[in-house]
Amino acid sequence: MKTEALPIVDVRNLAVEIDGHAVLWDINFSVPAGSFLGIIGPNGAGKTTLLRVLLGLVTPTRGSVRVLQRPPSQLGQGAHQIGYVPQRLEFDPRFPVSVRDVVMMGRACCLGLFRFPRREDWRKVDESIRLVGLSTKERCRIGELSGGEQQRAFIARALCGETKLLLLDEATTGLDLPAQHELYGLLQRLRPQLGLSVIAVSHDLLALGVHADNLICINGTTHIHGDPHMVLQSHQLREAYRCEFDFLSQEAQEGAAPPR
């Protein structure tokens, strides 16, 4: 019970510099277990970098980050409790793997090196495929599925470990609005069923605003953090996005004026 009360992700005063450039600074937020956090912000706001910090793929310059009560770099075997769905993959559509094979990749870390999948691993794979509603397509080659189906297959792969936290990076890019809502709706159904916490990153605030419990808007730093209604109405959100619109319109009018 005590663990339930602790946030599943806790980020304090996070700063990240890449090649001497500040990408993120003063980022603060926490994610209660079982909730759905949406991270929004314009292109280049550092959203993907923030996810990569949570995954332990980027080391913070300053601040503290705790995922599942541990720093991401020290998760070790705990890494298989985090499921990751990256930005839509530009993979070879003829890559000879079926949906089942792709989902089995999600078991690789739980199984450990030098071990072959056993019957219960395949059972877990089939269960994950059923949860995302792809059972009829489990033998199809991954490249033959539609964009939405491919994303569902990648979600199944992310759920195939002992997943407690699901991270999605622009998972709805390239999907039309009904497909976006279908995908987020699927996550909403799975959340209580599997006791999942979800963090989804998107530059598309509307679809995410409908489904997330909380939104955080970043553009280098945290602009606003709260419930979607409040975030979507706030002037800080317009500020975060308008930085870019102002810069573009000013540049178009005056030539090459640098942003302030």
């Binding site: 995954l55 332990g56 793929l57 998760l75 070790g76 075997q77 890494a79 298989h80 985090i82 990751y84 990256p86 993959l89 993979f91 070879d92 003829r94 890559f95 000879p96 793997v97 079926s98 094979d101 792709v102 089995m104 990749m105 999600g106 690789a108 870390c109 199984l111 090196l113 030098f114 072959f116 999948p117 080659r141 792969r157 470990g161």
Partner: protein, 284 residues
């Protein structure tokens, strides 16, 4: 034919050919799927530097080539992974430097008794019992590693970013795959030579890629076509008195174009069976 098979050199050539076909068929699978065929070219050409070191120091040239090619493979991996250079640039630099070193050392050694032509273009009929042992050792180590880590290597080839995020030691696996590739290339040098080894790495797996829908079938087709081409090429070479390395590669080329035609014919048939069905539906 029976008389031909009774010769010791022919028996050794067949066994060596089959081992190399098996090795290259399996490694080629990852070379095609991870798109690292230029890495194969780089490693095979750099092995020439190792052969020269072996000749100069008086140690077994293939053993020296194995060590040298592995070091160059790690160099390619390190330079491209550290973000200092693009992979193709690091390969271009390392393989040409290693070859130049080879030429320089061979010129220094002033002994021209070593069969350089054999290393460059292969000489499967001169495989000695000790070569065969070296080959069998390499095949055992490499194939065992690939079998034990197959699921990890497949994940790495399909989606490296997620493999890393899920906690797999991606860099260690990548260096291990490069090492396996370097050892297999050196094993294949005896059979087809430095210049043609790339064909054994790429063409059988490309045939599998054309014909198969699943990776298990692709792997089987890749291994079978590599072994079949080595055996067929060996007999063609014997009966028509042509260099075996060339006949093996040309057999593979013929097989590849047959596979390409088969895949194309299959697609045409698939389209023809789908289109009439689509036309009928609105009327019904």
């Amino acid at each position: 034919m029976t008389e031909l098979l009774s010769y010791g050199f022919m028996q050794r050539a067949l066994v060596a050919g089959m081992l190399v076909g098996l090795l290259c068929g399996v490694l080629g699978f990852f070379v095609i799927l991870k798109r690292m065929s230029f890495v194969g070219v780089g490693i095979s050409h750099s092995a020439f530097g190792g052969i020269a070191v072996g000749v100069l120091l008086g140690i077994e040239p293939l053993l020296a080539a194995a060590v040298f090619a592995t070091l160059v493979a790690w160099g390619i991996g390190w330079l491209s992974r550290s973000g200092r250079l693009h992979e193709d640039t690091s390969i271009g630099i390392l393989f040409s430097s290693a070859m130049a070193l080879g030429v320089a050392l061979i010129s220094l050694s002033r002994t021209y008794q070593v069969d350089l032509f054999g290393y460059l273009f292969g000489n499967i009929l001169s495989v000695s019992p000790s070569d065969l042992w070296l080959l069998a050792g390499i095949a055992f180590v490499v194939l065992s590693l690939i079998a034990l880590l197959f699921k990890e290597f497949l994940f790495l080839a399909f989606d490296e970013e997620v493999a890393r995020a899920s906690g797999l030691p991606v860099s260690a696996l990548w260096f291990l795959l490069l090492t396996c590739l370097a050892l297999s290339v050196v094993a294949a040098i005896r059979v087809v030579g430095i210049i043609l080894v790339e064909a054994l790495l790429v063409i059988p797996a490309a045939i599998g890629y054309q014909l198969a829908r699943g990776y298990r079938t692709m792997l089987c087709v890749s291994v079978l076509s590599a072994v079949a081409a080595v055996i067929a090429g060996l007999f063609i070479s014997y009966f028509f008195n042509i260099a075996a390395g060339a006949t093996i590669v040309l057999t593979l080329t013929v097989l590849f174009f047959l596979a390409l035609l088969t895949a194309r014919a299959r697609r045409v048939v698939a389209v023809r069976t789908v289109v009439p069905a689509a036309r009928v539906r609105p009327v019904a």
